[in-house]
């Protein structure tokens, strides 16, 4: 059952200059939906339009089958967590949590009941008398979440809620927010610029760039079958290696004028249709030539030992490509390295339209393993 529907949603502050262009989207009840994109892509604006904090210039916004374009934020029955948490500095944790309930004139008994439950759930029971400035970043974050939880609104909006936390805490809070959402059955719309957050948390992700939807889908789909060059380079870290592709002869093509691959019939056809093609390969798909015979030899520019994996910077026709090998490898910069790259792992994009021509196929090298 679709819970939120956006139909041709458009936003502009000045006529003719659209921040968001004809956004069409449906979000299901109980879904964890992530809006991801670089800064300035319009993701926060979209979220604030759903919240009712920004006017909708054009299009229809429906919640529960009802048009809500004209409703005030308070009449949309939602809660919101802000990047800076928006805690009231002069109020205690308890007063902060109860702030919304008091404004909505919920009965005292109900307030106390909900407060108790929420505080326990969020581990804030000991901190209720403190003021925000006496709390750590993580605790503040929890209060902000608690305020959302206590409202019992079925829809929760979060605007970069983790970006003010350090890396360790962020990883921990990712899990907690995800768990909370499942536990309460919340519909959650989550805005972030961090693709790792998007990948690890979302049921579905929408990638936004320059006010336009790039792709909507499951995290793994976005990773494996990016709809265009933008999504391909935005999702995944380190990012996908890309190179200009040219036909060498009837059955071979060259990437970055260096890497030679044999072209199958489909590829040959593709080259007839698309003038300029860009090939992309994920860093983990430039593999050590151990189980397979080496296909290419590349110069190592730089080696990073991360302990659990080794990251290599390789020279491919004057450009730096990254390879990521699991485990520890004793490789010296400056040497030639034998690698195995399969045509199957290459994704192809049209250089003009930037759209995907053909995703990488994974026959015989199952990427998603079912247990």
């Amino acid at each position: 059952m679709s819970y939120i529907e956006l139909k041709d949603i458009t936003k502009s502050y000045h006529a003719g200059n659209n921040i968001l262009e004809q956004i069409n989207l449906t979000i299901e009840k109980g879904e964890f939906f992530v809006l991801v994109g670089p800064s300035g892509s319009g993701k926060s604006t979209l979220l604030r339009m759903i919240a009712g904090l920004e006017d909708i210039t054009d299009g229809v916004l429906k919640m529960n089958e009802k048009v809500v374009n004209h409703l005030q934020p308070k009449d949309r029955n939602l809660s919101m967590v802000f990047q800076n948490y928006a805690l009231y500095p002069h109020l205690s944790v308890e007063q902060n949590i109860l702030f919304g309930l008091k404004a909505k004139k919920v009965s005292k008994a109900e307030q106390q009941k909900r407060l108790k439950e929420t505080a326990e759930m969020m581990g804030l029971s000991e901190l209720l008398d403190r003021k925000p400035r006496q709390l750590s970043g993580g605790q503040r974050q929890r209060v902000a979440l608690a305020r959302s939880v206590v409202s019992e609104a079925p829809l929760c909006l979060m605007d970069e809620p983790l970006s003010n936390l350090d890396a360790k805490l962020r990883a921990q809070m990712r899990v907690e927010i995800r768990r909370l959402q499942k536990q309460l059955g919340l519909t959650l719309i989550y805005v972030t610029h961090d693709q790792v957050e998007a990948m690890t948390m979302g049921d579905r992700i929408m990638v936004l760039n320059d006010g336009e939807i790039q792709q909507v889908g499951k995290p793994i789909t976005l990773y494996n079958e990016p709809a265009n060059l933008f999504v391909a380079s935005f999702i995944g870290s380190p990012k996908m290696n890309m190179g200009k592709t040219e036909i060498k002869d009837v059955s071979n093509f060259l990437v970055n004028k260096t890497l030679s691959f044999s072209a199958d019939v489909r590829m040959q056809k593709a080259f007839q249709v698309h003038k300029n093609i860009i090939a992309g390969i994920r860093p983990e798909h430039i593999q050590p030539a151990i189980h397979q015979e080496a296909t290419h030899s590349l110069e190592v520019i730089h080696v990073e030992q991360l302990g659990n994996e080794t990251s290599l910077a390789l020279d491919v026709g004057g450009e730096l490509w990254t390879a990521k090998w699991p485990g520890q490898w004793d490789i010296t910069a400056g040497n030639q390295l034998e690698v195995y790259i399969s045509t199957e792992h290459l994704s192809f994009f049209d250089a003009q339209t930037e759209a995907l021509i053909r995703p990488a196929s994974f026959s015989g090298h199952g990427e998603v393993q079912a247990i």
Binding site: K74, Q83, P89, H90, R147
Partner: protein, 271 residues
Amino acid sequence: MRIPFGRKIVTYLLLIAAAFLVFTPTMMAVVMSFMTNQDIMTGSLPSAFSLDNYRRAFEQFPLLHYVINSFLVSIAIMIGQLILASLAAYAFVFLEFKGRDFLFYLFIATMMVPFEASIIPNFHTIRDLGWIDQYTGLTIPFFAMAFGTFLLRQNFKQIPKELREASQIAGMGDVKFYLKVVLPVAKTSLITLGVYGFLTSWNMYLWPLLATTNDNVRTVQIGLRQLQSQEQMNDWGVIMAGAVIVIIPTLILLFLGQKKLQRGLTEGALK
């Protein structure tokens, strides 16, 4: 950084000399207020400590009455300014509506008009309203204050917009948000402005001189003028006692709030 010993000594000497020069007029007034008139007239050093001047200042003049008037007037102006300035500052920061920028420039324009340029019609207005010798006439003309509005606006702007948005989602209206969030959060600058308002109201001179014709609501500043001009026999001890009474409240307030006042005024003035 450590300051070299030689420079330390020089600085201390300069500080002491300067403090002496700056504080002499005040110090002399305080000392004189405890001296007998005879000592003063002969120009000798104080030979006896006496509270006689204060007793006479209070007995021969309605000094206490003036002091109470001044307190009432200053506190009324202070409260009036705080309310009006904070309301206006709230509108300039948190409300968006047509004509807001125009009104803002109008507020700036008011700072260009010296009070003296409008004092004659103001006097007539007060007179026609029957507000001469009334607290209303002494206070209400000073409630609206562009400087205070700017100072608070500067401070309100530091309040994250998200606080307002969070309260909007919670369903809280502007009046409640102003009362329950903005005023408590901006408490410090409200105090600063309050202190400033009290100081300037307490020290107001020209307007109370015009707006009072009898002792009814006359403030202590005008009382002091009265005391000084009526004192034909040059009773300097009594005059100084009156002057000391006048400056005590403001000096106390200034010493308590010096740091805050300094920060608050600089912020409001320079941004």
